[in-house]
């Protein structure tokens, strides 16, 4: 059933109840990845490479194994040598061989912090001593950190068998370029020939980490008969099961993954690092093994997202009509191919209706940790460049920046350069709301500037499962397979309550393990409220059908003659008979006599996730002496389709915007000349703190997505796309100069000002 109900008909959707898992989280009871302990548990730790690039000559574990309390050591020799195989399990393409070698280096280490061995011991101290006692002999190789340097013909080669994909003809020599993407629309040369104004620029961004506050953690417990359980926090326990089964050569039915609460992921927990090692150590020792990363390990060996270089060129008529748009993107992939350059290329001009587009992108490996998904992977990097160029264009044309975007804005029917024709989208409504917002016309003081930028993200649907159980007393449980990172239990309960017509407090949601609910993809791609929500709605609808049948049985009339209204069965009309309404609880009480338990499980592959658009307005003040940028005011407008729980939608927008502000102003991976990461901690890798920021005002525009029963669009990723452009454009307005390189830190701004 697909319908978009009138907002005024909704009782639960759109309200702001307290989330069902809330009390556990404010009292410290919620169990996150590192909070569990099992009897007889060992502690697992990882030995990591001190070199950015080296051949592993030998690993001697004998001294470590001889230490008291050390129970097992594993190296690559203890894992199957996985063949190259592309997969799509997490939030992007993944090659199983690369994943396996990223978890445990084989033959070569490719970045400082790359795992070379793992130990299990009876205590932290014993595990620590074992790490020191493992002797690894390396043959150090020349390294390369910068992606453009890695593209040079004489650059140190990471993989002797890496031939650039997407090239015609196929290259004959290996290189560090894993992939080239290229697509376009129309005739780019003709587009620029028709242009009366051209702007261009070369922009760079740095690698930044997702920086979830909870480090990766899990406990794995293998039984003698092969049955295993993994407890941990991740963005998808089915993803963990799939990867671990593949990497260890096990049957999926022998691996049960139990989701614990997850302390943030933002894409960074859509892959595995610890789980295969912990389970292998558990299989070797016969005891549960707990592994928790330190913050330093999180920075050195997980995430981050790519740094990138984006060259952008836009041509337009004097009236603002864009005639041509071109971009060339070079993205760091880290040690193995798989940067989000493809997604970035697709998103680059997706906000605009342009006839002639040409986008080329390169996915380049270098001696950095393998990148992982980070909130709208790739899109913010492209948007920083494109939105900077759009700002330059507005200045050149002396046009209002929102009016320029309105003139070229994508709408229903626009053919996007990356392929599809947009369905009902809300970009123009978003721009109108931004323009009308009082922020946009508020006065500014000296050294202050205002910037505007927009952003796009596809949003996805995908595979999800959900069950709805009616309990004997008429209360309800909703079960899904989607880890809840930001309040999705609340939205599942609300959608089920809406369909069933019962108070949301009578619906209790849980997230079930891999053996207790059907397959469900990762919490990523802004898909959970959309796809798992759709499965939940459909399961609730099936339950309503059953409730109507049960009422029909009780009344002895045809099920067609029963309606469901406000949580009660009622006769469909006067002809159906004069029965008193039967509330859900009354039907539940008689379930045994009318056919047994009232339950439904639905598994779907949801299609039609509506694309999302946002527009951000940012005011800054730049201190001309120090180059320090203060964010004075920030407004984020977004088409959210329909907000199920508006507070958590606002929260996604506020959180995403602030991550983008950090990316714009402070955050970066800093390497020394030896290929060592210099800032693997929160002191030197500075994420925004409360005193850096003003309130972030979210403005929710609701253009319902007709493919979802309540009109939901994904909301989590769009808000991180515009901020770097919005901040950059605001700084441009404040200091009169374009900052092309991230982060726009005080030293950089001072340097620009003193030029």
């Amino acid at each position: 059933m697909n319908f978009v109900v009138n907002k005024s008909d909704l009782k639960v959707v759109g309200s702001r109840p307290v989330r069902p898992d809330g009390v556990d989280k404010v009292t410290g009871r919620a169990q996150f990845g590192a909070d569990m302990a099992l009897p007889g548990m060992l502690i697992g730790r990882i030995k990591r490479s001190p070199h950015p690039h080296a051949r592993i000559v030998s690993i001697d574990t004998s001294k470590a194994l001889a230490l008291p309390g050390v129970k097992a050591v594993v190296t690559a020799a203890d894992f199957p040598d996985i063949a190259s195989e592309e997969a799509f399990v997490g939030e992007g393409p993944m090659n199983f061989r690369d994943l396996s070698r990223n978890c445990m280096a084989r033959d070569k280490v490719l970045y400082e912090g790359h795992a070379v061995a793992a130990v299990a011991a009876i205590s932290d101290a014993a595990a620590e001593a074992a790490l020191d006692a493992i002797a690894v002999e390396y043959e150090v190789l020349p390294h390369v950190i910068d992606a453009e340097a890695a593209m040079a013909a004489d650059a140190p080669l990471l993989h002797a068998d890496l031939f650039t994909a997407g090239m015609e003809p196929k290259p004959t020599a290996p290189s560090n370029v894993a992939k080239r993407v290229h697509f376009g629309l129309g005739d780019i040369a003709a587009g620029f020939a028709a242009a009366e104004v051209v702007v261009e620029g070369r922009y760079t961004t740095q690698a930044v980490h997702q920086a979830y506050i909870e480090p990766h953690a899990c406990i794995a417990s293998a039984n003698a008969d092969g049955q295993s359980v993994i407890y941990g926090s991740s963005q998808g326990h089915f993803m963990v099961r799939a990867y671990v089964a593949k990497l260890l050569g096990m049957d999926m039915s022998n691996i049960r993954v139990v989701p614990l609460e997850i302390g943030g992921g933002f894409g960074g927990k859509t892959v595995v690092y610890l789980e295969p090692l912990a389970l292998q150590l558990s299989r070797k020792t016969g005891r549960p093994v707990k592994m928790v990363m330190t913050r330093e390990e999180v920075f050195r060996a997980t995430g981050p997202t790519s740094g990138g270089t984006v060259e952008v060129k836009i041509g337009a008529k004097k009236d603002g009509t864009i005639t041509a748009a071109q971009a060339r993107l070079v993205f760091q992939a880290g040690a193995y191919g798989g940067s989000p350059v493809g997604a970035a290329a697709m998103c680059a001009f997706a906000c605009y209706d342009v006839a002639n587009v040409d986008v080329e992108g390169f996915d380049v490996v270098s001696n950095r940790p393998k990148v992982a998904a980070y909130r709208a992977p790739g899109a913010p990097i492209a948007a920083f460049a494109v939105e900077g160029a759009m700002d330059d264009l507005a200045r050149k044309l002396d046009m209002d920046p929102i009016a320029l975007r309105e003139k070229n804005g994508a709408k229903a029917g626009t053919k996007a350069a990356y392929g599809p024709t947009f369905p009902d989208i809300g970009f123009l409504q978003v721009l109108a709301a931004a323009k009308a917002h009082p922020h946009y016309s508020a006065p500014l003081g000296p050294n202050q500037g205002r910037g505007v930028a927009v952003g796009f993200w596809f949003n996805i649907g995908g595979e999800s499962s959900a069950s709805v159980f009616v309990n004997e007393d008429g209360t309800v449980n909703v079960v899904s397979g989607s880890p809840d990172i930001g309040g999705s239990r609340a939205s599942m309960a609300m959608m089920a309550a809406e369909v069933l017509g019962v108070p949301v407090e009578s619906v209790r949601p849980i997230v079930a393990d891999t053996a207790a609910i059907g397959f469900t993809g990762v919490t990523g791609g802004s898909r959970v409220t959309y796809a798992t929500g759709m499965a939940t709605v459909q399961a609730a609808e099936k339950v309503v059908e059953q409730l109507k049948q049960r009422a029909a049985l009780i009344w002895d009339i045809s099920p067609d003659a029963v309606d469901w209204k406000d949580g009660e069965a009622v006769p469909a009309g006067a002809n159906a008979g004069g029965f008193d309404p039967l509330p859900l609880a009354a039907i539940a009480l008689k379930a045994a006599k009318t056919g047994g338990p009232i339950t439904a499980e639905v598994s779907i592959n949801a299609q039609g996730a509506g694309p999302g658009f946002g527009a951000h307005i940012c005011d800054v003040e730049v201190d001309p002496e120090t180059g320090y940028t203060t964010i004075l005011r920030y407004t984020a407008v977004q088409d959210v389709g329909r907000a199920i729980h508006p507070s958590y939608v606002e929260g996604q927008i506020q959180g995403g915007a602030v991550q983008g502000i950090g990316w714009a102003l402070n955050e970066e991976y800093v390497y020394d000349g030896k290929g060592m990461l210099q800032n693997p901690g929160f002191l030197d890798y500075r994420v925004p703190v409360a005193s850096d920021l003003p309130m972030i005002e979210p403005v929710l525009v609701e253009v319902p997505n007709k493919r979802h029963p309540f009109g939901v669009r994904g909301v989590g990723e769009v808000p991180i796309v515009p901020p770097m452009g919005a901040v950059g454009n605001a700084i441009r307005a404040a200091i009169g100069q374009r900052m092309h390189d991230l982060p726009m830190s005080p030293p950089r701004i001072r340097a620009a000002l003193s030029k």
């Binding site: 404010v26 996150f32 506050i213 480090p215 302390g263 990172i485 506020q654 995403g656 703190v689």
Partner: protein, 161 residues
């Protein structure tokens, strides 16, 4: 190497535990007393997830040695509610949706309690600077600050009544 025996008052009750010399108070709380509401986000004093109150002072428990807890009075997140009555800060965090993943939440609540113990009527700027030692990567702080300000207002009203 023999372990140290430490006696302290934790959340109003006598508590004792054994620890090694190098163990932090955070290790002792989480591993020995199994009070896992106090979180470890960094272990280096940079994230505030491990915030506890020791003899009335807000500290990062990852930076304090467990042996230093001898004779001290320690409040953790587990002691914030009065039985099943949530502290106003806890209630306001829920009402304002001031948590997403919830991992930073115990640290924020403990730090905010320490703030309001010292200063029942903070300005927004004071609250932002007091809480600057607590990282939240999910919320952008907006709803956290609102929840703290709202809880402070309610507590002042109750105190005046």
């Amino acid at each position: 190497m023999s372990r140290h025996h430490v006696t302290a008052t934790v959340n109003g009750e006598p508590a004792e535990f054994l620890c090694d010399s190098q163990n932090s108070l955070l290790d002792a709380l989480r591993n020995e007393l199994r009070l896992t509401g106090t979180k470890e986000g960094c272990g280096s004093g940079d994230c505030g997830a491990c915030s506890v109150i020791v003899d009335g002072r807000l500290v990062c428990s990852c930076l304090m040695l467990a042996v230093e807890a001898e004779g001290k009075t320690i409040q953790t997140i587990e002691g914030l509610a009065d039985g099943d009555r949530l502290h106003p800060l806890q209630r306001k965090f829920l009402e304002h949706a001031a948590l997403q993943c919830g991992f930073c939440t115990p640290g924020f609540l403990v730090a905010a309690k320490a703030l309001l113990d010292h200063n029942p009527d903070p300005t927004e700027t004071e609250a932002r600077f007091w809480l600057a030692g607590n990282l939240c990567r999910c919320t952008g702080y907006d709803k956290i600050i609102r929840a703290v300000m709202d809880a402070a207002a309610e507590m002042r009203q109750e105190a005046a009544a």
